[in-house]
């Protein structure tokens, strides 16, 4: 594989950039693979990469209905963080933070990881207490957390509404300085290119239509491009999980919901951090192109439509304007939606299933992007070793049965409620 560097860039400039190698091939499916990963999004591509890199399993296919990176990995607001309170989430995410820091070097692909820090705003004394507790929990797990008072927040984001007569005055905030953003498409493409170079077949425009299960063991998948045999199959299909589960006669603790995001027209650099509103659900950062990247609540009812509805967008942006009044002067450039696999406790599932050789990776709710490397790494381990790693042991499918929920937000089963 061609190495990307400043020298290869200069060299290719002489030939008008016409002679770059393709980043990944377009193979026809083989008859049989050791492992098939269904879903060519961030998590699926990362899983294939770590299967090859960490476990030396290269007879792998990724099967994708559309094109790689066309789902949630290309639709999110690119936020990366590990500001969780519960141990299972905190340790898993912080392991992921390490992978993020090394990712551009590891993949020889600039994912533009930008650890610009995230600030969660607090709007009451009670919220400051809650953030103090969360920050302490984070620090006990080795994650950086700083509690900011009102003045310290004002120094960092002076454009927020610090006037006297606001409904939700800013009391302070909790900051994770090492959190940040990354170029989401580059993450998908970087993993795809490396996985491909190690022998993984990336098969696009190939829809799974069924599964072959024999005596409780998976033996293959049926696709729109023919039947393919496999010793092991991993599902990484986010919002489409329930569609595949139905083909397997499985009912899961997952509902599929729609989440919208939007960007404004580009403006000069003014926002250095990722900032979240504490009295509702709104988050905002500024892209390198200058657009304000924004998101918030789910639309709030089961949906597979991948396009949003105006009332929720209006509600979310009302919160945005309460936090950053200048947003009201900006024009909206784009809005879009993606479908989220909302689990019943708000935490993901990375586990084996009752079918031998079938593995499940789902339930990411609206936090899937930041988890991409850690999810791929632990899912690859779970598939290769046929047992969960201690990092994803808490993310079991059975926890709903045993009562070992990871209810980070305390929302109960209605994780879609806003």
């Amino acid at each position: 594989m061609q190495k990307y560097s400043v020298f290869s860039l200069i060299k290719n400039a002489f030939s008008d950039h016409q002679n770059w190698e393709v980043a990944w091939k377009d193979p026809t499916p083989k008859k049989e693979y050791d492992v098939i990963i269904i879903g060519g999004g961030g998590h699926g591509l990362a899983t294939a990469y770590y299967l090859a890199k960490e476990h030396n399993i290269t007879n792998v296919a990724i099967i994708e209905k559309g094109w790689i990176g066309g789902g949630n990995v290309g639709r999110n607001t690119t936020i990366i963080r590990s500001n969780y309170m519960h141990d299972d989430n905190a340790l898993f995410s912080e392991f992921g933070m390490d992978l993020w820091r090394k990712m551009s070097q590891d993949l020889n692909y600039n994912v533009m990881f930008s650890p610009r820090g995230i600030i969660n705003l607090a709007h009451s004394d009670a919220q400051m207490n809650a953030y103090s507790r969360r920050g302490n929990s984070m620090r006990l797990n080795g994650i950086d957390a700083v509690l900011l008072n009102r003045e310290e927040v004002q120094k960092r984001i002076p454009m927020a509404d610090f006037s006297d007569n606001v409904r939700f005055p800013i009391f302070g905030g909790l900051m994770q300085p090492s959190a940040g953003t990354a170029r989401h498409d580059a993450v998908a493409w970087g993993y795809a290119r490396q996985a491909d170079s190690m022998g993984v077949d990336i098969i696009q425009n190939c829809e799974v239509t069924g599964f072959d299960v024999n005596n409780g063991k998976i033996v293959g998948v049926r696709t729109s491009r023919g039947d393919i045999k496999a010793k092991k199959v991993g599902l990484c299909v986010a919002g489409s999980t329930n569609i595949l589960a139905e083909m397997l006669n499985m009912t899961l603790p997952i509902e599929t919901h729609l989440l919208q995001a939007c960007v404004s027209e580009p403006v000069k650099p003014l926002l250095d951090h990722v900032v979240t509103f504490g009295a509702g659900h709104f988050y905002c950062s500024q892209s390198d192109k200058g657009e304000m990247v924004m998101g918030g609540d789910l639309d709030g009812y089961n949906s597979y439509s991948q396009r949003g509805n105006l009332p929720t967008l209006q509600h979310v942006l009302t919160e945005g304007i309460a936090m950053f009044p200048f947003l009201s002067k900006l024009k909206m450039l784009r809005t879009w939606g993606g479908i989220m696999d909302m689990s019943m406790d708000g935490s993901p599932i990375i586990d084996k299933t009752h079918i031998d050789g079938l593995y499940l990776n789902c339930g990411w709710c609206y936090g899937g992007f930041k988890a991409t490397p850690a999810s791929g790494w632990t899912f690859a381990h779970t598939i290769a070793q046929d047992r969960v790693h201690e990092l994803n042991a808490g993310y079991s499918l059975n926890r709903f049965n045993t009562g070992d929920l990871i209810d980070e937000k305390g929302l109960g089963t209605k994780t879609w409620i806003s």
Binding site: N242, T251, Y301, N302, N309
Partner: protein, 89 residues
């Protein structure tokens, strides 16, 4: 914007309603012995189909009645709405 026909009030905009989730899950009968598995099925497991979905909505800024709505989860088309005590088998 969804427009939902409330069987009590008529056609109203989505803004007046709160979503209440899958209307097909059945609470186990309390006068029987209930296994953990049955509770698990009731509390946590959801079919979440792509296509027709029978769901509960609460007309919270209207008559405050719970209603059932049959809606397509991929096109958002609403086929029919029912009072809460209809379709209980």
């Amino acid at each position: 914007m969804l427009y939902i026909f409330c069987p009590h009030c008529g056609l109203r905009s989505q803004n007046e309603f709160a979503y209440g989730g899958d209307a097909t899950v059945k609470r186990p009968e309390l006068n029987k012995e209930i296994s953990d598995q049955e509770w698990n099925n009731f509390v946590y497991l959801r079919k979440s189909p792509r296509g027709k979905h029978l769901e509960l909505w609460h007309h919270i800024s209207g008559c405050r009645q719970w209603i059932k709505v049959e809606r397509d989860t991929s096109t958002h088309e609403i086929f029919k709405t029912y009072k809460a005590d209809e379709l209980t088998e």
